[in-house]
Symmetry: C2
Subunit: 336 residues, 2 copies
């Protein structure tokens, strides 16, 4: 699919979906739409991803099949300053994909334009309507299933899943990410935003996802939240049990000691955290934490190296910072 | 509230809501509507609950404020044979309460009748529309919070919560049940059916519930599912963390070894199960399993007594069958 990515005034630092599409997506990205950086190229701002021109508006975008909203502002609302670009994309017959909380399908103008010009509005946060409770069958999937879990939200579970996928592919394996959040769904073009599903069906949604890709060697399931998180642990547990993993990879931000946004809650000591995940997993799928991913962004090289080593010690498994150092051989060996 | 309870051809064994209303509800039940047992009295069929006449149809019901659908058939569908009674109740200006999956509010005839005669349609499974993610504040509630958890679905978590409430009231405490399922909500007239909530908001819904009753001495939160259940563990975890309990009571069916409907999954050994609940709870609320409730229905007295003793041993805490033996002093002491 040839796409343009909308990221007005947010690229690259506040456009997680746009950057994910450039780094991990299988689409051909023909332009990033960002009026602030128009005239530059992606490569000027982000060296290690797919390159593309940055343009002012849809008028400057070459022929594409779809426009993807590449920003996820807090609250997930549609920003009216994006309307002319969405309108222009629909008038060109493009699909528009969005992971916003505000659904495109609830906007009468967009619905009309899509109908008139043959494009499709795809609200990625909207769950399928035929979900059911889990049947407990995910463990029968032939592929090796590896689920990323975390010590908090935003600890790199999605990034780690994609980096593991790419490393496994480099070894010649047929690997895929099973996306459970809006960014992962936008990057891959499939999946279910599990936190948006009715609680009773959350594990069932994950089970369906894990059973979807046929004949893969290995699936990397994107985890959500954290099992010791006061608000999101239910979603975490649904993904843990719904995916019935063979192995777990624990993701952590170096130095973080309390839950982000819930600072009165301490993150449990790492060996204990590993134990909680393994004991919770065991009755449904006997998966151990076989490796760790740690985010050392902002640390100097020596401190980062020390943090990775200490983390590996604490969780008693090989570890890496997958963004800084890539997926190391010992981590990939442990995971596969 | 003066109510009638609809339980056609299902009373008492397949009318969990009706029986719960008679046993634990604060409403005055003026009739049970069951064409199969019409002419008998509740006391003829169930000795130890509020008595009421059993009648053929709404036409035989004395003045009431509401009709409650007291049956929850598998699938939760509305049975068309109930329509004349619901119609008659609405024509009399009564409210109609339902915990069915099929919403009364989606039925045009009922909507019209309610509007014409001033009654209200209350679909108990429908969650409030203004739910949010949990803020992590449930632990600040002044009341002692005791959450019932289980080794499977249908292990008596709701019944145990109500029995504990009644025992605490007998000791002079101001106690309430915090209902999280459709039967509990129907019995108490408030609460949220947590499994029906968007997964991201499930813990937030429970937090709101726990923070609702003012100035209680003790709250008994009705748990759902089981943390080692392949389909429902997410809801269980959301209630565990969202209620931020001070203590847990573990509910179990005597002799049960595998998960009902998921027979390839073994129920973990009881000491291990206690440990999983305590370790999962600890980072959010440091609650121990302080007592156990075991369902020994169908067992002879001697075997039941042995089962209770063995269960107490296994979980290393006082235990009782709250239906057979009531809430014993040692259990209530441990809980309070």
């Amino acid at each position: 699919m040839r796409i343009a990515v909308l990221a007005h005034e947010s690229f690259p630092d506040r456009a997680k979906t746009a950057v994910g599409l450039l780094r991990y997506g299988d689409h051909e990205i023909r332009a990033v739409v960002d009026r602030e950086h128009a005239g530059q190229r992606v490569a000027d701002l982000l060296p290690d991803v797919q390159d593309a021109p940055i343009v002012e508006s849809m008028a400057d975008v070459p022929e594409v099949d779809a426009l993807v909203i590449g920003i996820a502002p807090i609250g997930g609302e549609f920003d009216e300053s994006w309307r002319p670009d969405v309108r222009a994309a629909l008038e060109r017959g493009c699909d528009v994909l969005s992971g916003l909380h505000d659904f495109l399908e609830d906007d009468a103008e967009f619905v009309d334009l899509a109908a008139d010009h043959g494009g499709e509005l795809r609200d990625l946060r909207k769950p399928p309507e035929d979900l059911t409770v889990a049947e407990g069958t995910a463990g029968e999937v032939d592929a090796r299933v590896v689920t990323t879990v975390g010590t908090d939200c935003s600890t790199g579970k999605m990034t780690t899943a994609f980096e593991l996928r790419d490393a496994a592919r480099e070894r010649g394996l047929d690997a895929a990410v099973v996306p459970t959040g809006q960014t992962g769904v936008a990057i891959t073009g499939w999946g279910i935003v599990v936190d948006r599903v009715i609680a009773d069906y959350a594990a069932g949604a994950v089970e369906r996802l894990v059973e979807t890709p046929a004949e893969k060697d290995v699936l990397f399931v994107e985890g959500q939240g954290a099992v010791a998180h006061p608000a999101y642990s239910g979603v975490t547990t649904s993904i843990l049990h719904g995916s019935a993993p063979d192995a777990l990879v624990l993701c952590h931000n170096a130095g973080q000691e309390v839950v982000h946004g819930y600072e009165s809650f301490e993150i449990p000591p790492l060996p204990e955290y590993v134990d909680v995940y393994e004991r919770l997993s065991a009755p449904v799928a006997d998966a151990d934490v076989v490796a760790g991913a740690i985010n050392t962004s902002g640390m100097a090289a020596a401190a980062a190296e020390r943090a990775v080593a200490e983390y590996a010690d604490a969780i008693d498994a090989p570890a890496t910072d997958p963004v800084r150092d890539g997926v190391t051989d010992d981590v990939l060996d442990a995971v596969l």
